[in-house]
């Protein structure tokens, strides 16, 4: 099968409020940087472009089309979009390349979540008859999931705080992080609950920003003469939309995706996990069977900055950075979508 390489990754800062900067203005500097990283002039130099975003964040139908303005798509380009995190746009781009319809692809994701009330906006992605009319917010759903785990003795609040402390600490090395710092576990535990049993620190910040990745065939990467890492596997699986029919203390679909992506075929030096809530990182590491030999979220993960519709793509990009810098030889990136880890994608990336 055609081997596919990652050759570029750039992300904007995660900011709590981008002000008057619009989505196109959030995307454009990131695209310029990723083109420069690979030595390309513009979107005309790749065969395919695919983006990931959510029109609900902008509150307008077909809002994603405006994002194409950032490409300067004249003359016309081959372009597509997923109403999902851009990690799934990367999945679509891989299919495009494997089918022989393209040798290279630009993928970008963006989200400006600050103008709306994100947990309420996301409530409208739930079951349209049973849940959306109740406006059940996504933080409350995650809080119920956390309580299930606490009640069953699967985790403690200290375990959750340890995830937060490590994420914030790791984020000190991530110049694009929104929340970083040395914070003691006891200091976190001393904070009041927010949506109990969750504390605010267990929840991801609301962030504005964008990220972009360029992938291509290995032949193309060699021709461009840039450092690259190889995507050796990718798969995604989804669970029922009925939250109460799932085992919320486990992530069956993540495990299935990891099996499909061939995670177990080698060592996992690094895992970049899209765990929006602290307890979900524990669910994911257990579902994937990650042990002491795996460094989890060296970037700080999404507890340090959560770009809706781009954070999953950024996990793949962060993994690419670890591998091309020589810090890791092989690792996995995980992306999630939907409430309480409903839909999960796992990508395996290896050094060239």
């Amino acid at each position: 099968m055609q081997q596919i390489a990652i050759v570029g990754y750039q992300q904007s800062d995660c900011v709590s409020w981008a002000g008057a900067t619009n989505e196109v203005e959030l995307i454009m500097p990131v695209l310029r940087r990723v083109f420069d990283q690979v030595g390309l002039a513009n979107a005309q130099d790749v065969d395919f472009v695919c983006s990931g975003s959510c029109d609900y964040l902008q509150g307008a139908a077909f809002a994603f089309v405006a994002g194409v303005d950032a490409l300067g798509a004249v003359p016309p380009i081959k372009e597509s979009h997923v109403e999902m995190d851009a990690a799934w746009a990367l999945y679509e781009s891989m299919l495009k390349i494997r089918m022989g319809h393209a040798k290279s692809a630009l993928i970008y994701g963006f989200g400006k979540s600050s103008p709306g009330e994100l947990p309420i906006v996301l409530s409208q992605q739930l079951d349209p008859y049973y849940l959306a009319p109740q406006w059940v917010d996504t933080i409350s759903l995650a809080a119920m999931q956390a309580r299930l785990m606490l009640d069953q003795g699967l985790i403690t609040e200290r375990d959750m705080a340890e995830v937060v402390a490590r994420s914030r600490g790791n984020a000190l090395n991530n110049p694009h992080a929104q929340l970083s710092g040395d914070i003691a576990v006891d200091e976190l535990l001393a904070q009041e609950t927010y949506v109990s049993p969750l504390r605010k620190s267990d929840c991801p910040p609301v962030s504005d920003g964008a990220s972009a990745v360029i992938i291509c065939t290995v032949e193309q990467a060699i021709e461009w003469g840039v450092p690259y890492a190889i995507i050796s596997g990718i798969d995604h699986r989804i669970e029922s939309h009925n939250l109460a029919m799932r085992d919320l203390t486990d992530s069956v679909s993540t495990r299935q995706a990891a099996q499909g992506a061939g995670m177990a075929d080698g060592s996992v030096d690094v895992a970049e996990l899209y765990a929006p809530f602290s307890h979900q990182e524990i669910i994911l590491t257990r579902a994937l069977g990650l042990g002491e030999n795996t460094q989890v979220n060296p970037s700080g993960g999404v507890l340090a900055g959560n770009l809706m519709m781009a954070s999953g793509l950024s996990r793949i990009g962060e993994l690419f950075n670890r591998i091309t810098s020589g810090e890791a030889r092989r690792g996995i990136a995980h992306a999630t979508s939907g409430p309480c880890l409903q839909h999960n994608l796992v990508t395996v990336v290896e050094s060239a």
Partner: protein, 149 residues
């Protein structure tokens, strides 16, 4: 400098169509209007409330309705200290997964309580109906702690 005239126009977002909720969701909502709660049997015989049209594992079309109780127990809950504008209460309340008597799968709804300490996993709750029921999930206004029989 004089203020420019700002043109305004009222705009109401609406849908110019109606849609049927179908034989499963529609049956459930119609029963709610009549202050009854119905579930449906899944492929493995488990009673799912609210009913699903298809079994999530086997994809079998489901059709065997079962009436369930209006009391049940809390499987998990989230205590909301600061309700949001869209939320059903303007004072602290809980979202909960509630397994109704006769059901095997919990449903998600809100629970009215004075404080988080009043609630617990396993606590018994009962449905409180809206004054006027119209065939919406919100016909169940909320759940509250059950009076012991």
């Amino acid at each position: 400098m004089s203020q420019p005239e700002v043109l305004t126009q009222a705009f109401e977002l609406g849908f110019t169509y109606t849609r049927s909720t179908g034989p499963v969701v529609g049956r459930f909502l119609t029963e709610l209007r009549d202050r009854r709660i119905f579930g449906i049997k899944g492929s493995d015989g488990r009673v799912i409330v609210p009913p699903m049209e298809y079994d999530p594992v086997t994809a079998e079309e489901l059709s065997e309705f079962v009436e369930v109780g209006q009391q049940g127990e809390i499987v998990s809950f989230a205590w909301v200290k600061e309700p949001r504008a869209a939320h059903p209460f303007d004072r602290p309340f809980a979202w909960a997964m509630i397994k109704l008597d006769g059901a095997d799968v919990a449903m998600i709804h809100c629970v009215a309580a004075q404080s988080e300490g009043e609630l617990a996993t396993g606590a018994r709750v009962q449905a409180v109906w809206a004054d006027e029921t119209r065939g919406f999930i919100t016909d169940i206004r909320c759940f509250e702690l059950a009076q012991e029989n």
